[in-house]
Symmetry: C2
Subunit: 444 residues, 2 copies
């Protein structure tokens, strides 16, 4: 039963180093478990220090990318350099040369998935990308294999460990965003430039990949509304907590009667929701299917070894022939998917948490309530937390939760309220996400 | 790419009815997602009322099991009658006739796995059993596919929804066991005869299946130490809660230097542990791999539709050819596994919660502490919760937690203490399970 498969790693940083190290050290274990003998055949990278640390012998260093991509003895190219330009070129050339590709590059797949899958299919090879989404958690396999009997109604992910770590510090330690970010950087859990993590872009890449597979739609990445945690204020974390909510950076896609709505933003969820438990750098994805109901997948979404676990599982699936079979059979891949309407955020509905800073004077609450009424926003609760300073000129917070409201109406109302001379800075607005209903057997 | 596969269901109760209903109603959806056209070809069952409810047309009723098992037009037999005798016979005859089998029958696999897999392999077919463990959660696939790059160190499962529902009621509502069980029966979450669920047998079947796949060992089912929740007293749930613990019926298997230890028993886990969050009828399985670290899989472990989701995923994997490939390639199946030492419970170690009922008189604590000392049991905390009654003749609880102790030493000490004339009924003893350590990259 033993199949041999020869692998080249392109890009040997943290993840590449872990892949190389595990392939070399655990070759026998992996072969025994999977029946696939994986031989590390070549490593190409800018500087070989990580490769050396991982125990890669110098004779496997392949300094010419050109040569590597042409070598006939290589079955699988593992692309781990990241980025869009060179990585795209590498993947296209690898598949053109009849090599399977395994990648952790979520940005590449979110932007160029259709093109890459078309190219792979045209060349009779496949692309493995378990490592692109939620690191060591086999969630891509859950969607493309384990849950195949389901019509998937919704995917809710906490898929950025850096953001989740920062939010956990803000929630549990009462830290402000800047301090929590600095702490994450100190602990090695945030990059020196954390922009793509904290501004939601990384989460958007991942939800784009999951939405395509779950719903069978071509996702227009640029049409995904994205906001990150970088504008979140700790006062809202605290007030939300008083109301029984935990703030999480959610990457969500769900069906609505009008289409599919993928989005990324900080949102409040009830402390009782399983996703509220996911703390520190961990990731989790909740998937709602019409047969399974709610299933959730939890684990480490980043880091060398967890991500390497996902990379190697794809190599093994190629060796066993399972990934090619899934790639051939299943209907929901970017290149096979249908165009679908991505519902703009303004046309969606939700409950909301709002914090309006207003002068502490008579008639203010009435005025604000009147404006919401005019825009068909129904208020669920309104409270004025006690603050230490006072006086008519001081702005005090008014915390409001709404019933389900149309986002467009809410935006109109807030624009109106922000323009009042009794209110201060821009109102804070965070959606409150209810537990998604399980709808067994219903595909309508 | 479309493959057609013809399926017969044997046993049409809750799960069989859901499988039939989904296959008939969602044939197009399932075909679109998986590229496999699943045709329901026959249903054999004792009474066809559920089949009728599920919309199975009468021409698919196959009243003769003999005929069904001989029919050449059937590719897959779905065995859902349960039990050990007839089910074993059906599976053996189906595979002998060259048919793949899909089953939810955990007892059958736990007892006869080796024989059945050998028979399937000899006939060039395979057995799908995703539905046997944790219902709709694709945890068998996680072990046999998604986590293939890992040496798995430990599996911790909450895999019996009935028990978890009862324990949740005891923990959150302060109910006694009998009331909670009656409530579960009223809510349709416990059978009229709930023995196999509440006494731990069902969980033991599941941990036997998972341990074989995770560790590559032949599991001796009869050597698994099992205790259930039926002897649990609500006073211990309360005292444990005061100490920060939640009681769960855990099905555990982990490596020790001496072998593998599968066991099932009620255990305390910290309120911070992800498994503590799993409430009501939900199941979850935590798996610790040397590459991924901790991953957890959560969802509904029973019920018609969730279990049917798992059954159909196996049918589709057979249609796609992925299950046969995994069955051929991977090394860890009961029929291929090695014998391994199953460490007897008495030779394992743990922290423990103990409740000793003793006379409320001077010297009692000292005597108990002395006995523990003599047996090398190190006490972490000892407290005497206030009780309303008093007097030298009344027995009052002494609650003790220990540091890591050898189970055999503990049993010896408790036998000694139970025999004292200052102590009453048998001491309550519940292990306290620590968060399993993630050991990245270590296979020693």
């Amino acid at each position: 039963m033993k199949t041999t498969i020869r692998v080249a790693i392109v890009g040997c940083g943290t993840v590449g180093g872990s892949v190389a190290s595990l392939l070399l050290k655990d070759r026998r274990l992996i072969g025994e478990r999977s029946g696939v003998d994986v031989e590390l055949a070549a490593v190409h990278t800018r500087t070989f220090s990580r490769a050396t640390d991982a125990g890669v012998p110098e004779e496997l260093f392949e300094r010419s990318l050109e040569t590597l991509l042409e070598r006939r003895d290589i079955d699988v190219v593992v692309e781990l350099i990241g980025g869009l330009t060179v990585a795209r070129d590498i993947v296209l050339r690898a598949v053109a040369n009849g090599k399977h590709v395994v990648t952790a590059n979520k940005a590449l797949l979110a932007h160029h998935g259709t093109e890459l899958w078309e190219a792979a299919r045209a060349n009779g090879v496949c692309i493995g990308f378990e490592a692109s989404t939620a690191g060591g958690i086999p969630v891509i396999r859950a969607i493309t294999d384990g849950l195949l009997a389901n019509r998937i109604d919704a995917v809710y992910g906490i898929v950025n460990g850096t953001s989740n770590y920062i939010l956990t510090q803000m929630t549990q330690q009462g830290m402000g965003y800047a301090d929590a970010l600095a702490g994450a950087q100190r602990d090695g859990l945030a990059e020196a430039d954390p922009s793509l993590d904290v501004n939601g872009t990384d989460s958007a890449h991942k939800v784009a990949i999951m939405a395509a597979l779950a719903f069978g739609i071509k996702v227009d990445f640029d049409a995904i509304p994205v906001s990150g945690i970088d504008l979140l204020e700790s006062v809202d974390v605290t007030f939300g907590s008083d109301l029984g909510y935990v703030v999480k950076l959610l990457a969500v896609a769900h069906r609505t009667p009008d289409g599919v709505t993928p989005w990324v933003r900080p949102a409040f969820i009830s402390r009782e929701h399983p996703l509220a438990w996911v703390s520190g750098p961990f990731n989790a994805v909740s998937i709602y299917g019409h047969a399974t109901g709610h299933t959730l997948y939890y684990g480490r979404g980043a880091g060398g070894h967890p991500t390497a676990s996902a990379v190697i599982s794809d190599i093994l699936s190629i060796g066993m022939g399972t990934l090619p079979a899934v790639f051939d059979h299943t209907g929901y891949w970017q290149d096979r998917n249908k165009d679908a309407r991505q519902v703009p955020m303004a046309q969606t509905s939700s409950r909301f948490y709002l914090r309006i800073m207003a002068k502490d004077q008579p008639g203010v609450l009435a005025e604000i309530a009147r404006i919401f009424g005019n825009h068909s926003i129904s208020i669920a609760s309104m409270l004025q937390p006690e603050v230490t300073e006072d006086g008519a000129e001081t702005l005090v917070p008014i915390v409001i939760t709404t019933h389900i409201s149309a986002q467009q109406n809410l935006e109109d109302a807030l624009a109106h309220i922000d323009a009042l001379d009794i209110t201060g800075e821009r109102a804070a607005c965070i959606p409150i996400i209810e537990e998604h209903a399980e709808r067994f057997g219903t595909t309508e």
